[in-house]
Symmetry: C2
Subunit: 204 residues, 2 copies
């Protein structure tokens, strides 16, 4: 399924072709691909090189572990994400290890790492779908996550399946238009809410 973004300015294929499907194939993700995807996250930038990210990874190769991960999804995501061969829960350390203070950008740094992970996944023919709808308290409990860490998102990872495997309402969402705010609404220069002059009005 081709969902290439209709960009106003040319961007790299790996960014343009990335989207978040629901129809995952149950084809396993090869071990070397899974490792490459996680290695990409590992090499991300972070404030003071703190690397606040920790990932909990469940694959269908271990059915008991996978079932545990599935049980930590909220119903809306459970419907489709259970089909993916890999489920990941992302967490961050809330304070610096080297300094006695909160890490203000821990969530942001985790986002940097997950984006790297997704670029690498796209390069390998895989897709990711990030989820906010997960059972935070349950995840903390079943994986014994310490107090100083916070659970942030879930990620379904795998190959694309067939749209027909989805319930009707999700098929519709899978085909919906890809939309973004124009650059004129997100890029300012001199002051807030004033579009930057270098953004052409006809290609905002």
């Amino acid at each position: 399924m081709n969902r290439t973004a209709q960009t106003h300015h040319p961007i790299h294929t790996l960014l343009k072709d990335r989207w978040s499907p629901r129809a995952f194939s149950d084809r396993p993700v090869e071990q070397e691909k899974l490792l490459a995807v996680l290695e990409a996250a590992r090499w991300s930038a972070s404030a003071m090189n703190e690397q606040p990210w920790r990932f909990i990874v469940a694959t269908k190769d271990n059915p008991a572990e996978f079932e545990k991960a599935v049980s930590c999804l909220k119903e809306g995501n459970l419907r489709w994400a259970k089909d993916a061969p890999v489920l990941i829960f992302t967490t961050v350390k809330k304070s610096y290890t080297k300094f006695d203070r909160p890490n203000r950008t821990a969530f942001y740094d985790l986002g940097l790492a997950v984006s790297n992970l997704t670029v690498q996944a796209t390069e390998l023919g895989l897709h990711t779908h990030q989820m906010g709808g997960i059972e935070f308290d349950k995840i903390r409990e079943v994986y014994h996550i310490p107090e100083d860490y916070e659970v942030v998102t879930g990620i379904a990872l795998g190959y694309y399946g067939h749209i027909e495997q989805l319930p009707d309402d999700l098929q519709e969402r899978e085909k919906g238009p890809r939309v973004r705010k124009p650059l004129s609404e997100i890029i300012f220069a001199e002051t807030w809410a004033e579009p930057a002059s270098f953004v052409p009005q006809n290609k905002a």
Copy 2:
């Protein structure tokens, strides 16, 4: 200057070659490249497609605006970031537009967008260096940032210059080793702090 990451598992060149320099050239960033870099951020994923990111962009083409941006850097970053031809401040909307509730992953979503921006910059021969050391209150004041938005980071963007342009102490940091925690410390499976079995011990 080649700072390619020594990875344990192969990852895409654009991720492996990314690093955060301090020695920026004052060569301007071409308008079409700047637009491509921002377009890459625009097409990022975000929770509920909220797109909470807003960017304030100053280029040396407008000296007064650039000077304003420079005046919002903390001293440690000012020393080198003033040489970059483009300075960006990143902000996020703290609550959802469509729903009456806080956006828990706004910082995370911004991180996703900035990582996309960086991948596109790398593709175009540019570098980014993200900064936490910025004057948050001053930025809010001089750019008239509304209450519901939070200033998150600064980004220096441009071409690489020459290491010799840096003060001695920063030359040392520019050449320091690139290090990351092993995968065994960031990837768990069954439970917290237990390395996942699929991570080879000799390539963790």
